[in-house]
Amino acid sequence: MTNSFRTSTGGRVNRELPLSFQFDGTPYSGYAGDTLASALLANGKHDIASSIKFGRPRGVFAAGPEDPSGVIQIEEPFPEPMLMASTVELYDGLVASGLPGQGWLADRPDPARYDAVHHHCDLLVVGAGPAGLSAALTGARAGARVVLVDSLSEAGGSLLGSTEVIDGRPALEWVESVTAELDEHPDVLHLQRATAFGCYDDGFALALENRTDHLGGAADPDDTRQRVWRIRAQYLVIATGAHERPVVFNDNDRPGIMLAASARTFLHRFGVLAGGRAVLFTTNDSAYAAAFDLSDAGVTIVAVADSRAQVSERLQDGCVRRGIALHTGHVVSGTDGDRRVESVDIAALTGDNEVGQAERVAADLLLVSGGWNPAVHLFSQARGRLRYDDGIGAFVPAEDLEQGRAVGAAAGHFGLADALRDGASAAAAALGPTATAAVTEHQVDDLVEAPSAVLWSVPGSGETGMAFVDLQRDATTQDVLRAVGAGLRSVEHVKRYTTIGTGLDQGKTSGVVTSGIIADALGVGVAELGVTTYRPPYTPVAFAALAGRNRGQLLDPVRLTPTHVWALTRGAEFENVGQWKRAWYFPREGESMDGAVARECRAAREGVAFMDGSTLGKIDVQGPGAGELLDRIYTNMMSTLKVGRARYGVMCGADGMVVDDGTVIRLADEHFLLTTTTGNAASVLETMEEWLQTEWPELRVHLTSVTEHWATFPVVGPKSREVIAALVPDLDVSNDAFGFMTWRDAEIAGVPVRIVRISFSGELAYEVNVSAWHAMAVWRAIAEAGRPHGITPYGTETMHVLRAEKGFPIIGQDTDATMTPQDLGMSWVVSKKKEDFVGKRSFTRLENQREDRKQLVGLLPQDPSVLLPEGGQVIETADLPEAPVRMLGHVTSSYHSATSGCTFALAVVRGGRDRLGETLYVPMNGTPVPVTVSDTVLYDKEGARRDG
């Protein structure tokens, strides 16, 4: 049984290019140009999935993305769950299976590439049907930058599934000539297989382009499989067409039941007959085309049930000519069949909104049409207002967008002439006179259609048996009525109660029908009830596509320091500090982290060690108001700092809480350079600019980030003086000549450097600052000069141990947004002389005067081998009491001190400074561990070591 439902000729598939694929383990063949759905139907395969709740067999219900039921899983070449068979373009080697409502994700990384492109245009046209093509062509001829996106494999939209004629020629010839002309315009971007899935603010739209799947094995493996186009449009033309709407009746979910126009599309676009014996159930004229075309192609149309009492002579004649039994005033009241529809019950509508006795006819295909819903999804996402049109039973755009318009069927204008005219006039409206001049008139013979009936659900549906509203969610009329019975009145509430519209088809066939059924049940109008909100994405989009290239090494910027490559070749382990990649420690062969850190700490305490501290934020502050600005920003006095000297400083917010700390050096009278913590570099600069630009514009100061201009290398340890002396022979490095908290300009390896005597370790230390260009030259010179002293490179872990041993807090680790300088034991850094500075007034607030505020203290585990967990809670009792346990605070930093031969921690503890010497407890794995509260300084309490 291969392609036995394929017509002998016709369709847009390429019969020269057969493709092999597997479905549910069975090999099949199709043609290039097929979708998985059309290829399965060509092979007579209708029963392709099963439903999520009831396990009922389900088939292809529609030929496009509105299909609620043909849900499949791609198994090979790479697993991809929950796709609609009607939207998967067939390719050679495809292996897929039907899903029972849920799929499975790959357990291996997706090897395909995904990327994004930004694009700007005057006119974004969504949909390459007659309206869209007409708009795009008019725009292109007017010289505009145009983007035309369309989800199908070729342009044409509804024309692909019909037999329309434009200007006396087959419509597809017109399509071909339009696309050829569009190709000639360099500023027209025409993308097929590209679905606009979301409209956002300010003319921004996203489209997903499928680029390689259809090429199968011929695709370049490096090429982008899917691309997200980020399109910013001056004007948006929504030419997205319309979705045919079903009518709900009993057992309306069997494979072989299909929207009428979809069956016509399968015939004309793919050369596929969706069945052999068909019944049409319709409420409108449009569906007759499907019945007539299928009949002409050899399908037996057993009957047409039209819910209207009368139909036009043209349609009556058409039926008579083809021997089709036409039942006006009739509906389909049910179906039967095993894995597929086998018979259809046709019954008369009676006057009192009931149905009469049904007549059962044998059929393997049931075509359904309840009218058309304009595809207003994007229009509505773009904040376009909708109105309910009683005549067609659908929501249509009520207005133009500020910068856009729905056209053609998407606007509820279903005729071909309307579509062509709409598209061109939208482009003209967007672009003005040049485009107006480019509008072309076309000769089209639209049939005059009689009014449609609006019928949501066949009377009596669901009273016995099941009548499905949302096939994907297995939700029935009874579910809707139960929701209404439970008191729900809003369509949004009913949606969430019933889950209708929450499947991957997002209720394209069920949404408006649900509103209709609720309206009937409540006895209100559909207009006042409305329809649920349309939200992006219009069709499912894989997270991989949204992530694009922001994965792996490109997930987030990795900021590198000037010595990164050197550290890499030295076998350093790295840690992430924000976006920075910093050397964490430098293990020797076979050395553990603890071993390496202990060795690095020893070198800094006993000999000499050096590190790359370049990540520190650095801000150049210049101008006559520089000293005044710093006085207002820092808690301590900076304007009194002498040129040539450095000072530690703390910044607070207006609430008095510490936000950052660092050092300030004065380079000249009106010129300072300050450092910030690594993580706060950007925010400190931005905050300082905020004060300067918005509150104190009278201060003449310029703030400039120089973070990456300066590489910063602390050279630390008792022997650091000898290393600096060797590097800079003419510099007097004696303590008297070059004292603590002073700086000198010098030259190392022929390169200008600035050396600052500051210490984040308590040891004698020199911070060498050099322009990034020369960083490695100076770094190597330091290494060379230090070699006789065994100079040791160290990383951030050792830096942390050294600073914690001295009780130096890290803002952001040992503090959060609730710590004042006083809480940190740093009253000394708060000026009493200055009348005001940011945060000062808050220190005297009652809340900040409380004695039981959390204060920074040291904790010494009474078992010196126990390393407390950072984040561990501090409690008062040796036994873990019943919850709620009173928490005194928590551990903020915890390390082994190689120097002191014990573990230690910093912690914030309620009233901590009054508890020095007390025993408190930190639960570890449920057991409280005793700790002694100490002051924050573990090592060199006298501060004797900083001068060497």
Binding site: Y200, F204, Q693, T694, E835, D836, R841
Partner: protein
Amino acid sequence: MQLIPCPWCGPREEVEFHYGGQAHVAYPAAPADLSDREWAEYVFFRDNPKGLFAERWVHSTGCRRWFNAIRDTGTHDFRAVYRPNEPKPVIS
């Protein structure tokens, strides 16, 4: 992705900007003279209207300038932007 009009650089994607809260909350001339209550009003209390709201924004990725904006908090529309030295525009 919304566009925010920087008074200097023109419309840019919203990710280039940072938010600075309510505008025109001036730093008190003499904080020391304020009661705790008055100081708390300055530090902690801000308006939270549905509708037009004057806010501070900064074009972080661009010119690093702080500016003021009148934004409709209900629709996110930026109704006006103005530089710090310009008066608050009157918008109905």
